[in-house]
Amino acid sequence: MSVVTDTTAGPLDIERLRDEFPIFRQEIGGHPLVYLDNAATSQKPAAVIEAIDRYYRETNSNIHRGVHTLAERATAQYENARAKIAGFINAAESREIVFTRGTTESINLVAQAYLRPRLEPGDEILVSEMEHHSNIVPWQLVAEQTGATIRVIPFDEDGVLQLDEFERLLGSRTRLLAISHVSNSLGTVNPVADMIATAHAHGVPVLVDGAQSVPHFAVDVQALDADFCCFSGHKMFGPTGIGVLHAKADILEAMPPYQGGGEMITKVSFAGSEFQVIPNRFEAGTPNIAGAIGLGAAVDYIEGIGIDRMAAQEADVLAYAHQRAHEIEGLRIIGTAPEKAGVLSFVIDGVHPNDLGMLIDQEGVAIRTGHHCAMPAMEHFGLVGTARASFAFYNTRADVDRLIEGIANVRAMLA
């Protein structure tokens, strides 16, 4: 049994917790599954799967407009999920939580509904070199539409943002800073609280891409003071197709709708339409009701264990993975920032990452290989891609041992 001791609670019984994830009951290629692709998506506990199943069996109905019993119940469960998520990230109010399809849609929403009307030719949007494509391309699109330009905060050889460069790049034309909390390809935890304070001192609003942070450690949006925070349900044990945009209420209030349709209006005539209050204004059409309820169940699941305890377990496994990775000759860790979360990215001399990924899969070890949708970050290191093991609380040191053993076998095969 793998256990981890936390100062705030007893040890986590990982073996028992893993039993709550039906997917781990199978074998891949005759081996028990070692799942190390959590930065791409996490696995789902039975509690989440059952919440979705129960919704469709017992509650399914459209929300907000119906007066019948099921519609009332579905609405209550959907709004209850919103309240749970607000509590989880310590949002000031539930109405600051907008349900989206995921982080990508949340960022696009901000790009088009918030930023686009504010951009003039020559204005600047500040991002970092380690961003996921979903925190680059929506800004490129809005820049093309308005004549604005993208400025890029570089990082050093360890994958640490160069904060002096960041301060230099913050200028009178900067209209937004869009920054990941944790890099999906390097694992770097960026000092977003300090960066937000600096940006605000210059009057620049900030969007935090929390896709890789919210699932892994406690994020308090009020303490961070970000104007926007985006994350995805499926990376935090919830279903795919549901995500969150958190924004301060006064900012959302001032934003026009993103998409038009039902749910987001109070009155429609051909003379014009009146839009709903927030957050409904941004949730056009029938939303992903089951997804939102599933995400609410995922939040319950995390809170039942305690995110601090999950974070402690992950930190232990990540540190162990770093330590063992050094045993592999010719292995170079990509991303060696002092503050890291959840990700071990690496390359091995003479071994193409995709070959490693395919061959280690034969041993039941699932890792990610390639550019991780962060091609600029890869380019910084002169690489087309890396192999990436990414962790969740249900991973153990034994999983790391299987990874290291698998790498050694593959190296022998390719040598």
Partner: protein
Amino acid sequence: MSIERVITAFEMMPSWQDRYRLIIDMGRKLPELPEERYADDNLLDGCMSNVWMTAERDDSSDPPIMRFEADSDSQIVKGLIAIVFEVFNNRPPEEVVTTDIESVFQQLELEQHISSGRRNGLSSMVRRVRELAQAELAA
């Protein structure tokens, strides 16, 4: 190794680990490309790893035949190139454009065992081989 022998060898191997080993070994036997062939013009689109491929028609042979050369930074892909070349290399261009390599892939069960990204790479490799042969036919 002829393609028939590759198919037989595959059938005799119980595990995919062993089959991968054979694929990798076949790739190792591919001749190295001259330095100047590693040009962007010779790079294939649609591959997760780099594949450089060139072709020449050898008119000294009767009938003239296609001589393909290729390399990849991935050892598995290099092995897949070797399999593709086993079918296509040193054949008249007419044969290259009409040969049904997909049935060979099926016999090798490659479709089920390589990732979808690699499948796309394999198709673009085959497409390029046929294009190069087609170009020689048109010339």
